[in-house]
Amino acid sequence: MNYVLKRTGRAVFTVWAVITLTFGLIRLLPGGPMQALRGYLMQQNPSITTSELQARIEALTAISPDEPIWVQYGNYLWGLLHGDLGQSVWLNKPVSTVLAERAPWTLFIMTTGLFLMFVIGIGLGAFMAYREGSNFDVATTGIGILLQSVPFYVVGLVLIAFVGYQWELLPTGGHYASSVTPGLNLPFVFSSIKHATLPVGSLVLTGFGGWALNMRGNSIRILGEDYLRVARLRGLSEGRIALRYVGRNALLPMYTLLLISIGYMFGGSVILEEIFAYPGLGRKLIQSIGRRDFPVMMGAFLLITIAVVIGVFIADLTYGLIDPRASGGAERESY
């Protein structure tokens, strides 16, 4: 229970820290977003009066520049708690509406990619460990090292150029064909999967090697443990040993790794979505920077971070279920 409380506290604290950071970035940086926005508005409408300008900025960013900084900060926090992320300068719509359309798509390709990478990598890694030293092991290890050195966007670009444009097998951008109607119908689902194939494929192709190598290393280490010999001497079945003794212990460190890669993956969505013109949060973030649309930029950043925090939080809690040692955390003497 204490463990759950602690983790919850940390997740909330992280979100708060990021909100404060974004507030600081918008408000405090000289020549930062706030001044750029002011300049942009004055350029749009040179005859604007000071009070009109303030009102406009307040409407757009949910921050009123006249008031003392702590009042501004309080208002900003209060607004965020009610889902008010400000107003898009470019689209003239609430930021929350703009982002709500995008978020599910990012979640869709990122979780699919991460899941496939994890499953393929672990299966392959365990198999490599069992066949340690064989030609299969040596070959896959080599391929794994090679794949680890290829950034996913390189594979993505090559896939777009050949599978997309040269052979015209799969779409090169977008999230679904314009001919289908969104909803729970077969053509829509099929079209979404088709559009997600290349982005997810480039992630999985470059990512599974690293997972496999890691899993292989873990399994080999555990295969040498004494308790495994004892298990064999006790006459336990190979299947039970493979799953309960090797699999479970080799998976534990992988789970921690999964925790760390959630952040990396969602961060990478910025690049992936831009290359595949996939309308998710990351692409919106890049677009809004090009358009100097700071409310959207900050909103997208906040949302990506919150997605990661929630992902890590869930992984953290379930880790406690898998590994009872994690909830301990003994206090140490301070020097």
């Binding site: 940390r10 604290f13 992280t14 820290a17 990021v18 950071l21 974004t22 970035l25 940086l29 000289p30 020549g31 930062g32 977003p33 090292i145 090679l146 680890q148 050195s149 290829v150 950034p151 966007y153 390189v154 670009l157 090559v158 777009i160 150029a161 997309g164 444009y165 040269q166 280490r221 760390i260 952040g263 990396y264 969602f266 961060g267 990478g268 910025v270 690049i271 831009e274 290359i275 990351g282 973030l285 890049i286 920077i289 930029m297 900050m298 997208a300 950043f301 990506i304 971070t305 990661v308 925090v309 890590v312 140490r332 003497e333 301070s334 020097y335």
Partner: protein
Amino acid sequence: MLNVSRTDVDSEYAFEVTAEETLSRRDRIRHRVDQFLLAPARILWTDWRARIGLVIIGLFLFLSLIGPSLVERPEPLGPLLAPPWPWGTLEYPLGTTYLGQSILSQLVHGAPNMLKMILSGALFTVIVATVIGTTAGYKGGTVDGVLMTISDIAMTIPGLPLVIILAASLPIAGNPYLIGILLSINAWAGLARSLRSQVLTLRESEYVEASRIMDISLTRILGIDIIPNLMPYIAMNFVQQARWVIFNSVALYFLGVLPYSSTNWGVMMNSAYQKAGAVTSLEAFHWLAVPMFAVVLVALGLTLLAQSADRLFNPRVRARHAETVTGENGPEDEEESEPTTSVGAVS
């Protein structure tokens, strides 16, 4: 003399310094270089992966340090979008851009910026992580709690979006050193955490306890007793962070969200993609492929180096090798005794 282990060499060397007045400053520097640079390099050389890795990284260093003075700056003088060598002429071995610049020359003149970004980013990560991780692990208590909470937050914030936001908000011109640091802005957190957990076991060892009883200062204990033990791990992470910086700097330059003052590989990819449509038509694809290939090659070199470093420093792998392959024991010991021979030769 030939079969002493590394620690013996160290202590023997330390005794020699105090005993022999004849050892000049230059000799001492030479010993240091031999001990910390040449000897590890010799050990690395026994592993084939490290050998390939070292060759690739050596090539990259040559390209970025000496290359620009050998190859002329890219000028728009050649034919437009000429194909690379087997299909084109040897005058432009990697082909030309849509403006007629030599792609080879672009590649070479973009390399120094890559090196600067990689070095500053990896150094920044390793230094910050070491300071925070070892302090937190050694001190424990409140200091540990505060530092690790900060690391946890930094670890959770997705790096690339943060980098993009900061690059858009902060007034940094295209200084490659600053870009490298910016790219690694929260990369130290993961390393700091794993260093901390390694320090937890080290802090209880006898020699650290002895130092503590003798009231030696915190920085000295960390610098002399703790950090040397972590060096292999830190070195490995240096290489991994270098790979991270090269991947992501190229990606962000490719997307055109980072400021730049002179060309680099990501900028090359960006112009190939944006201006020549290198993805939609195969005519300009080589312009995109050359920097991509260069990135992959350098990353491969770094991966191989990190992998073999892991094998060499990892006592478990070492022990296993010693047990199973007795034939390899001989040459490995010989490699290790090299520094001893040179120390003997000088004195």
